[in-house]
């Protein structure tokens, strides 16, 4: 038998329906792969083998009677940020020690309802705050990709990006058929770009946030990381819904995303924003971008130069808005209702000691920044100003879309994956933040964005291109990214892990 873990979701779906193998067999193949590899990659923080086999057996019964759901019997990994009933849900933080919710997040419930099998919970940056998956309480995740021989990074372990680093690593290493992820400033698209996988952050409000541990509520969105564009369409189809439990969740019907694949992009207007050509951007990123432009042009799209004048202010505005919301959202971790408690001489001492021990450095930094920018006397200068800048960023996009631009093409990241423990990034938090320079604008404007693998760097590491769409036009992104995928081909790491 061929290796079952090599199949995409679409391929496995057909073969499960044709009864070529069972979901229990497929699930066991993945559980075996995880057992062999997780010591090397650290992608999973909890493997739910019993739950997986149980749900796989139920799926097999449904498949046998011909009434399986859209994802019946497909084994998936779930980011640790999603509340999963009775199962480890800690946002990879020490402060949520032993937390097992009594409820299931809407997104993971949607996947369950469609028959998906949960393999376990995936590693991530603590509370989704990070771009390298190094802030996890459970340790760094390794990227399955390694630099080519002769590269200065040749023998170095690389980050998978973050915050959804476990999701990206597990998908790239075939430790799940697909994974859930979340994106507040780039946390789906940047790790997808670093691992040669596809990641889509849908429009704000397309997926319910209910039951997902909150980081910055006006920016957080769930989405999938998968091996190809078709699988991303299949997974998002299932994850997206309207939800009375999230008042910011859209009531618009979820279109048939898979139907948009393979449609021509002839005559489509694709914007190239001049402000994304940053000073000091590596030549290979510029070359990749030009290559992407050429592919889309060959497919019949019209390429237009556009301007998004407030682009450079998106990242600084984000580092006010996101920490402000985080400081408020994370106030609930006080050692009383769930998770870690460190005793103190009185209740305030208990709060302070619990939060000092329970939150890692990066989380503490962001809670502190957020508390500061919201504090009396600074609110107008920082927070209010940042929210005004956010309006301007959104208006930039609206003006471009009003000119008839259908989608915008940019690089996904300013570089390929870097080394675990990179000294420059460790010494300067802002250096790490710059990873999200091309992705963060999309969250600030609430738009959908997809990262699709487009080539390899000089070091032999994957690089991605990003497409940004109009609100709720994810179909355009699937349609257009398929063109890039077909032209670029797919990229797989050479197996070195167990």
């Amino acid at each position: 038998m061929t290796d079952l873990t090599a199949l995409t979701i679409a391929q496995a779906r057909e073969k499960l329906r044709a009864r070529e193998f069972t979901s229990v067999e497929l699930t066991d193949a993945y559980l075996g792969a995880i057992e062999a590899a997780n010591g090397d990659l650290n992608a999973y923080v909890e493997v739910t083998a019993d739950i997986a086999r149980d749900r796989a057996a139920q799926s097999d019964a449904k498949l046998a009677s011909g009434d399986g759901g859209a994802l019946e019997g497909i084994p998936l990994g779930i980011k640790d940020l999603f509340g999963t009933e009775g199962v480890h849900t800690q946002a990879c933080s020490h402060i949520l020690d032993n937390f097992k919710p009594r409820y299931e997040s809407t997104v993971s419930q949607n996947l369950r309802n469609d028959g998906a099998v949960m393999l376990g919970k995936l590693n991530m940056d603590e509370f989704a705050m990070g771009s390298s998956n190094e802030t996890s309480y459970y340790g760094a995740v390794k990227n399955p990709w390694r630099a080519s021989q002769g590269s200065p990074l040749e023998s170095v372990d690389l980050v998978p990006g973050g915050s959804s680093g476990g999701s990206a690593s597990a998908v790239a290493a075939h430790l799940c058929a697909g994974a859930t992820a979340t994106d507040t400033g780039g946390s789906i698209r940047q790790p997808a770009a670093f691992t040669g996988t596809v990641g889509i952050k849908p429009t704000y409000g397309r997926c319910s946030r209910w039951g997902i541990v909150a980081f910055a509520s006006s920016l957080d969105q769930a989405g999938p990381i998968t091996r190809d564009v078709r699988d991303a369409a299949i997974m998002l189809q299932s994850m997206a819904s309207s939800d009375p439990k999230d008042t910011t969740c859209s009531d618009l019907p979820v279109p048939n995303y898979e139907a948009s694949l393979g449609k021509s992009i002839k005559g489509m207007k694709i914007g190239i924003p001049r402000e994304y050509r940053m000073d000091g951007m590596p030549g290979e990123i510029e070359d990749l971008w030009q290559q992407g432009i050429a592919w889309l042009k060959d497919a019949g799209a019209e390429i237009v130069d556009i301007s998004l004048p407030h682009t450079k202010y998106a990242l600084p505005a984000y580092y006010i808005v996101a920490p402000a919301e985080a400081s408020s959202n994370l106030a609930r971790y006080d050692g009383v209702r769930y998770g870690l408690r460190v005793d103190g001489k009185d209740i305030t001492d208990m709060y302070e000691k619990t939060r000092a021990e329970g939150f890692g450095d990066e989380v503490q930094r962001r809670v502190m920044i957020g508390t500061y920018v919201l504090s009396a006397g600074y609110y107008d200068a920082y927070y209010l100003r940042a929210q005004k800048v956010r309006t301007l960023i959104k208006q930039d996009f609206e003006a471009v879309f009003a000119q008839g631009v259908d989608t915008i093409l940019t690089p996904a990241t300013p570089s390929a994956a870097f080394a675990i423990g990179d000294k420059e990034m460790a010494a300067d938090p802002v250096k790490m933040y710059l990873n999200d320079i091309f992705t963060v604008t999309v969250n600030m404007a609430g738009l959908p964005g997809i990262s699709v693998p487009a080539g390899l760097s000089a070091d032999g590491l994957p690089l991605g291109l990003q497409l940004i769409g109009r609100p709720f036009e994810e179909e355009t992104l699937f349609q257009t990214s398929t063109i890039i995928e077909q032209a670029a081909g797919q990229f797989s790491p050479i197996k070195w892990w167990g």
């Binding site: 032993n98 097992k100 919710p101 009594r102 429009t203 704000y204 409000g205 006006s218 920016l219 009375p244 008042t247 910011t248 859209s250 407030h310 450079k312 202010y313 600084p316 505005a317 580092y319 006010i320 006080d334 009383v336 209702r337 769930y338 998770g339 408690r341 009185d346 209740i347 305030t348 001492d349 208990m350 709060y351 302070e352 000691k353 939060r355 000092a356 939150f359 503490q364 930094r365 502190m368 920044i369 508390t371 504090s375 600074y378 200068a381 920082y382 209010l384 100003r385 940042a386 929210q387 005004k388 956010r390 309006t391 959104k394 938090p429 802002v430 933040y433 600030m444 609430g446 609100p471």
Partner: protein, 95 residues
């Protein structure tokens, strides 16, 4: 704008995070790096611009004003570090 060590300690107190003198010192540097970075927002002309309140153009859905959940105290307190008879237990706060 930049912060001094006394401000760092005051903010840590507001955020309910215990901080040592040594950590306050290194935190001051880290926060000033970030505040230095966000400082560039002062270059933007925001005169007459409305602050964003909702990123997607939609009216917030309202639900009927009825009780639709409850009677689950065991679930609510299930994850508490210490609970008794469905109450969260905390150190004594009233003398």
């Amino acid at each position: 704008m930049s912060v001094d060590t006394a401000t760092v300690k005051r903010v840590a107190q507001l955020a309910r995070i215990a901080i040592s003198d040594e950590r306050a010192e290194s935190m001051r540097e880290e926060l000033n790096t970030i505040l230095g970075f966000v400082e560039q927002l002062s270059q933007v002309d925001v005169e007459g611009v409305e602050p964003m309140t909702s990123v997607v153009d939609m009216e917030m859905r309202k639900r009927a004003d009825v009780v639709n959940d409850g009677d689950i105290p065991a679930d609510v307190t299930a994850n508490a570090p210490i609970s008794e008879d469905h109450f969260f237990m905390v150190p004594k706060v009233v003398e």
